[in-house]
């Protein structure tokens, strides 16, 4: 029997990026907030220590800061004809764990999805006709660019994003990304330096007539004090960014931007090492009453709250909704039901060029140190004569030269024994890569539900992922690979290799921790789990915040849009919901 605790105004599940933003904004509005976090407390000086953070084995290979499958695993299969099996270790993607969540060990690439993403269906139907979208479950997100632009701005100023505007209030800016949607002001900081390989890449693609620009980066170009008064430092290009926490206070995370302010508030409490088991609903299922969680000692508690905000990782948000029976499970056969719908991923490919006599110093890098061209991203180019929709950003962004993992060698080189060392030395120092990060568009067959066989340490069903790369995305990605090949030619490398996506998503090699959808936002309760304010259509005092709300995934990293959605949902709660609790959008 769970021990009943005193009621709070709001209960936040998970204290990563979104949970921290929600907690900051809700406490600022005077609410009494408790956040319940499964993982440990973590902070820079103690846990991300600059004296030993640069340990590839501990953090990148043994994955010390990541969620352990022994705590929560997931099962996967490529289609419903297969039996899903548990990912006994995480490989293809690596969910975060603990305070700060995946925002601790992200790279810091901070994009804004485009206006044409939020209104993707309307936009594409208008440009190409409805027949072009056949087979794709693309939907408008329910929120428009003009409504949400200021939320992107809030997140970027919180983080001190270092970049160059490409479109200020409709005016295209030299040096920025001409394809981005209009922004109201410049980035808070100038771009970071981009090193040798990205500079070479930018020069070459500019000669081809494309529009390279410095990646918007949460690795900071200079010291910065954010609007909350929190101080950050300059990035040192150490090459221990993604998979690592920053020991320099120079990568934006909850720790470096919000927690120093939030944690001191008397109307905020954090409980760590406490795992939420489910959200408890009233008997009619129409309101959330409380959450049940279990602490590190195995004691169960019930924490009542007027508002419950689910801020776990995208996949866990969906699982918690299903375990709590919030909304209806999506059925891929009928296409009915909203929770689990439109699960998407990312469709990547890469080029690598091997030179003679060049020194790239690959260990000099940062998570978001790069140059990107968006000429083939989203709908920046005409798809009229093409047999697919979508696209990808093409980037040269060397993040590290950590040698357990980073050992590119020319094709045909031995991996061990005689000769491998010579090939490794050459590839390590004298090769460079660039890649296409492709969109992932929803299809009926890709979805999330609860696994019928495998359970977690408390006996709850694991989440089951049914996913394969849709034919549309394979065609898109092969088009991107063709562009990579073409772009690589003028570099004059000795050898160039280009990868191509194939059917059969493999859960083992790392690809991307950009899992999106499953609890998507929209304007129709039949095809979306939450409304445009990320409020559950079915249980209106529950808000579900994160990339789970993405109705599709663009050819960009998700965190910028996740941060914007967090501010957007927080504003809806503080400016609308607490004044008049109830459904913010009539169903």
């Amino acid at each position: 029997m769970a021990r009943l605790l005193p009621k709070r105004d709001a209960v936040i599940i998970g204290l990563g990026w979104t949970g921290s933003i929600l907690a900051q904004q809700l406490t600022e509005a005077g609410l009494n907030v408790v956040a319940i976090e499964r993982g440990p407390w973590r902070d820079t000086a103690t846990d991300f220590n600059i004296a030993y953070m640069q340990d590839e084995l501990r953090y990148a290979i043994r994955k010390e800061l990541f969620l352990k499958p022994s705590v929560e695993a997931m099962t996967m299969r490529n289609n419903i004809s297969q039996a899903a099996m548990p990912m006994r270790d995480y490989g293809s993607f690596l969910p975060g764990d603990g305070v700060g969540g995946a925002g601790v060990h992200w790279n810091g690439k901070t994009w804004r999805f485009w206006s044409s993403d939020f209104s993707i269906r309307s936009h594409l139907v208008q440009r190409y006709g409805a027949a072009k979208l056949k087979g794709l479950q693309l939907q408008d997100w329910g929120v428009t660019w003009n409504e949400i632009e200021h939320s992107f701005d809030q997140f970027e100023y919180l983080c001190g994003i270092s970049g160059k505007a490409g479109n200020l209030k409709g005016q295209v800016q030299p040096g920025g990304n001409p394809f981005e949607s209009p922004r109201t002001r410049e980035y808070p900081n100038p771009p970071i330096k981009t090193g040798y390989a990205p500079t070479l890449f930018a020069d070459k693609v500019r000669e081809l007539g494309y529009h390279p620009f410095p990646q918007p980066s949460a690795n900071l170009s200079q010291a910065y004090v954010n609007p909350l008064g929190v101080r950050m430092g300059q990035c040192t290009y150490c090459g221990f960014c993604e998979r690592f926490a920053c020991g320099n206070y120079s990568k934006a995370s909850a720790q470096t931007t919000i927690l120093p302010v939030l944690m001191k508030k008397p109307n905020f409490e954090l409980r760590t090492e406490c795992e939420v088991l489910k959200v408890n609903l009233t008997p009619d299922g129409k309101m959330a009453r409380s959450v049940t969680y279990i602490d590190a000692k195995g004691v169960e508690y019930e924490q009542p709250g007027d508002i419950v905000v689910i801020c776990a990782y995208a996949l866990m948000n969906v699982r918690l909704m299903l375990l709590s029976q919030i909304g209806t499970q999506y059925d891929p056969v009928t296409g009915k039901g909203a929770v689990g719908r439109n699960y998407c991923y990312q469709t990547g490919s890469g080029a690598r060029m091997f030179f003679e006599g060049k020194h790239f110093n690959p260990f000099i890098g940062a998570g978001s140190m790069g140059q990107t061209m968006d000429d083939f991203n989203g709908d920046a180019f005409d798809h009229g004569s093409l047999d697919f929709l979508g696209g990808g950003g093409i980037s040269c962004d060397p993040s590290n030269g950590r040698p357990i993992s980073y050992r590119p060698t020319a094709p045909g080189s031995p991996r061990w024994g005689a000769g491998w060392k010579k090939a490794t030395i050459e590839g390590y120092n004298s090769s460079m890569g660039f890649s296409a990060q492709g969109s992932s568009y929803p299809v009926r067959e890709n979805f999330l539900d609860l696994d019928p066989t495998y359970t977690d340490r408390y006996g709850r069903p694991l989440l089951r992922i049914t996913f394969d790369f849709p034919d549309n995305d394979i065609r898109m990605s092969h088009f991107m690979s063709d562009q990579l090949e073409r772009i690589a030619k003028p570099f004059g490398a000795k050898v160039t290799t280009v990868s191509r996506v194939r059917k059969g998503w493999n859960a083992v090699p790392y690809q991307s921790t950009h899992n999106t959808g499953g609890a998507i936002m929209g304007s129709d309760p039949g095809t979306s789990a939450v409304n445009k304010y990320l409020q559950s259509w079915d249980v209106p005092n529950v808000f579900v915040v994160g990339a789970s709300a993405f109705a599709h995934n663009a050819g960009m990293n998700p965190t910028g849009t996740v941060g914007a959605l967090a501010y957007w949902a927080a504003e809806a709660i503080t400016s609308k919901y607490i004044k008049s609790p109830g459904k913010l959008v009539p169903a």
Partner: protein, 243 residues
């Protein structure tokens, strides 16, 4: 100052919890009103001792040392895998949480999966090594009438290439193939060769010197603008400039 506040708050909470008529108070790791901090709260890594063996028995030691020396042969570019400490590294890894598969999802049922679903066997990494090295010795005794460690380097290369290329099949377990065993040993050997020396391998930072990786350095602002110029400084490791 804030710690004092925190302490008094904790005492207050404790006294409130003692009153039975009130609703229960959450136990344990509740943090409010301050940033939790205590001195020496960091967790620096512990360097392994190079002496003795914690996991491998003497026969396994001979086999794994022979394997790492063929995967990373001594030549003008670096010492061999054994002298770099790769076998010691693997031994310490297998004796610790990695060997136990502590972070893995270990719940049954264990069913054969598809290649896209990853390893689905019930053996921990340590169990896979134990079985794999025994099967390797059985194989060489059958084919060459001696243990792997007693083969000539050329014969050892032939066996390893066969395991890598699919022409040598050891007697393992369903769901654990010879190729998987080979890939695991190769991965762990390269980890030992390229990881920080504190884990027992990469002695004298031999691999970092070989490829030009500066190791645990944390600030390249002085070189970021020097395009196409080799970084001039030697490597440092977490505990030592000497490795």
């Amino acid at each position: 100052m804030s710690e004092q506040r925190a302490l008094s708050r904790r005492r207050l909470l404790a006294s409130v919890a003692a009153l039975p008529i009130l609703a229960a108070t959450a136990d344990g790791r509740s943090i409010s009103g301050h940033l939790p901090w205590s001195p020496f709260a960091g967790e620096p890594p512990k360097p392994v001792s190079p002496l003795g063996w914690y996991f491998f028995n003497p026969g396994e030691v001979a086999a794994i040392e022979a394997i790492v020396n063929r995967l990373i042969p001594a030549d003008e570019l670096s010492p061999g895998g054994k002298d770099c400490g790769c076998a010691v590294y693997i031994d310490r890894q297998l004796a610790g949480p990695f060997g136990q598969g502590a972070r893995l999802y270990n719940k049954p049922p264990f069913s054969p999966g598809l290649p896209t679903q990853g390893y689905q066997g019930d053996l921990s990494p340590a169990g896979r090594y134990r079985l794999g090295l025994r099967a390797l010795n059985d194989y060489t005794h059958t084919s060459y009438k001696r243990g792997f460690a007693q083969l000539t380097p050329a014969q050892q290369d032939t066996v390893l290439a066969g395991m890598d290329g699919g022409t040598v099949a050891l007697t393992l377990k369903p769901g654990f193939s010879t190729k998987e065993f080979f890939e695991m040993v190769l991965q762990n050997t390269m980890e030992g060769f390229f990881a920080d020396p504190l884990y027992g391998g990469n002695r004298n930072m031999a691999s970092w010197k070989m490829i030009g990786f500066p190791g645990a350095r944390y600030d390249y602002r002085d070189h970021i603008d020097k395009h196409n110029v080799r970084y001039p400084r030697p490597p440092v490791s977490i505990y030592s400039a000497e490795g």
